[in-house]
């Protein structure tokens, strides 16, 4: 009997898993269900090249649309899976259809966090997750128009940069003290702030939106701190929450996403989860982590595919991601929720540097600006998890890849 694998979620993780299953020789039935009408595509350009009109949508596709029928992958797109019925072993769709499965991969990703701010539903207030979200924002863009960006995480920062590059007048409001300070720490976040400031972005930190106001359409943002910011449109970027509804209330354990082990296996046999939705155990950092980045989406989807094919290889990739803002490329490798020492090579002021986040003498993560090579080379020492010699870490003459050796 050929087996049937169902992938719930046709984003980058679901798409990468489908590709990997066929590449690894899975010959059974393979169904890919996605709530968006498009075949799997990559989201990073939505806040950058695609938003700026520099890359067509086709460039974002994981594989061309013909790939799926050619590979015998049945796509059910533009339809929501409502439930994974563990007893009946079927995936229920919103149109009432049921798809039987032998194994399921949940790769439903996340949805934008929406806080109950008055006026959030006004015309001209957007958030960004999908290509149609990006299209709606693109329609608003014209030189001289005024935008308010709410939140200065990666989406807020990148949209700010892209809109400035297109001549939009951008004001920012965020609860944080600095852009990306939660991830990068104050020293590096100050560099990010200075870059936006140089580009003429008006930034308000440690304040929050009280209400979006306007007659029918957003005209201004009123803040809790009593500020009034006039605008033509708003983009809200307050992060995502994992989309776990398909297994809500079931035996699949949920806690900040779907809990999986290092093999993408949930608490229920035959049910796997990967990508943004999966709160996964990571052996290098010895804890559970939920990650929302491009490379992880691909590699975790591939890892889940391997596990579904019964290979016993743990997912232990060192996370790595980039963020392009204006003409600077920021890169980050590893995972450092907190650290006790930050060591910088290069110059923060000149915006060419690599910095290492250490805890107990071990490099947990690195961040670099315009020094991508060093960030990538740090992935070896991060994975090795060994103590490094701080004098060597500071010494530019020592190659970053050699830091694990003493």
């Amino acid at each position: 009997m050929p087996q049937t694998f169902v992938i719930v979620g046709a984003g980058l993780t679901g798409g990468s898993a489908a590709v990997a299953l066929r590449e690894e020789g899975f010959e059974g039935d393979l169904v890919l269900i996605g709530v968006e009408p498009e075949v799997p595509y990559e989201r990073p350009p939505l806040s950058k090249e695609y938003l700026r009109g520099e890359a067509p949508f086709e460039d974002l596709l994981v594989r061309p649309p013909t790939f799926y029928p050619d590979q015998g992958i049945e796509t059910r797109l533009g339809i929501r899976a409502t439930k994974v019925d563990l007893e009946g072993k079927v995936v229920e769709l919103e149109d009432g259809n049921c798809l039987p499965y032998d194994k399921v991969l949940i790769a439903t990703g996340g949805r934008n966090r929406r806080s109950p701010i008055p006026g959030l539903d006004l015309e001209g207030v957007y958030d960004l997750r999908t290509v149609s979200d990006a299209d709606r924002i693109r329609w608003e863009v014209a030189p001289g128009r005024k935008a308010v960006i709410v939140g200065m995480g990666f989406i807020g920062s990148e949209v700010t940069a892209s809109l400035r590059m297109l001549g939009v007048e951008v004001s920012v409001i965020a609860r944080s003290k600095l852009p990306l300070d939660r991830v990068l720490g104050e020293e590096i976040a100050r560099v990010m702030e200075s870059i936006h400031r140089d580009q003429g972005v008006k930034m308000v930190f440690e304040d929050a939106v009280e209400a979006f106001e306007g007659s029918g359409r957003v005209e201004r943002v009123r803040t809790q701190g009593g500020r009034v910011m006039a605008c033509d449109f708003v983009v809200v970027g307050l992060g995502i929450e994992p989309s776990t509804e398909v297994v809500a209330g079931s035996a699949v354990r949920i806690e900040n996403g779907i809990i999986v082990d290092e093999y993408c296996q949930t608490s229920v046999a035959g049910i796997y989860a990967a990508g943004d939705v999966a709160n996964h155990y990571h052996p290098v950092f010895d804890r559970r982590i939920r990650v929302e980045h491009w490379q992880h989406a691909i590699k975790h989807g591939q890892a889940a595919a391997r596990s579904m094919l019964s290979s016993h290889k743990p997912y232990d990739e060192v996370y790595w991601f980039w963020s392009d803002q204006y003409h600077s490329t920021l890169q980050y490798a590893g995972f450092a929720p907190d650290w006790d020492e930050l060591i910088v090579r290069g110059s923060l002021q000149q915006r060419t540097f690599v910095a290492f986040y250490l805890k107990g003498g071990r490099i947990l993560a690195s961040v670099g600006m315009n020094r991508g090579k060093d960030v990538r080379q740090s992935m070896g020492p991060i994975k090795a998890g060994v103590q490094v010699d701080l004098a060597r870490l500071r010494d530019e003459a020592v190659q970053v890849s050699d830091l694990a050796e003493s």
Binding site: W294, Q295, W322, R376
Partner: protein, 102 residues
Amino acid sequence: MDTFVTIGQAFDIGEGEMMQVEVTGTKVAIANVAGTFYAFGDTCTHLDCSLSEGDLEETTVTCACHGSMFDVTSGAVLQGPAKKPEPSYRVEVCDGTLRIEV
């Protein structure tokens, strides 16, 4: 077309190193993999970064900007975000002089 252009001396590029050259307006990267030279497009097909400023490990070049990986022997994409391959050029070493076919 057998148009070989002299681009420099082989000893200018150490083992495991890369160099960018410009040949008739095209930026080309030359990689020295254990004494064998390979030439390929230097401009990353993803977002135009210079591949010769990236990392060379055996026959794989990794773009310093966004981590795309290419096979230097063929220009093929080994890992995204890049999706399009790099052009690949024939290289010959004559008497210590590097020449590539364009």
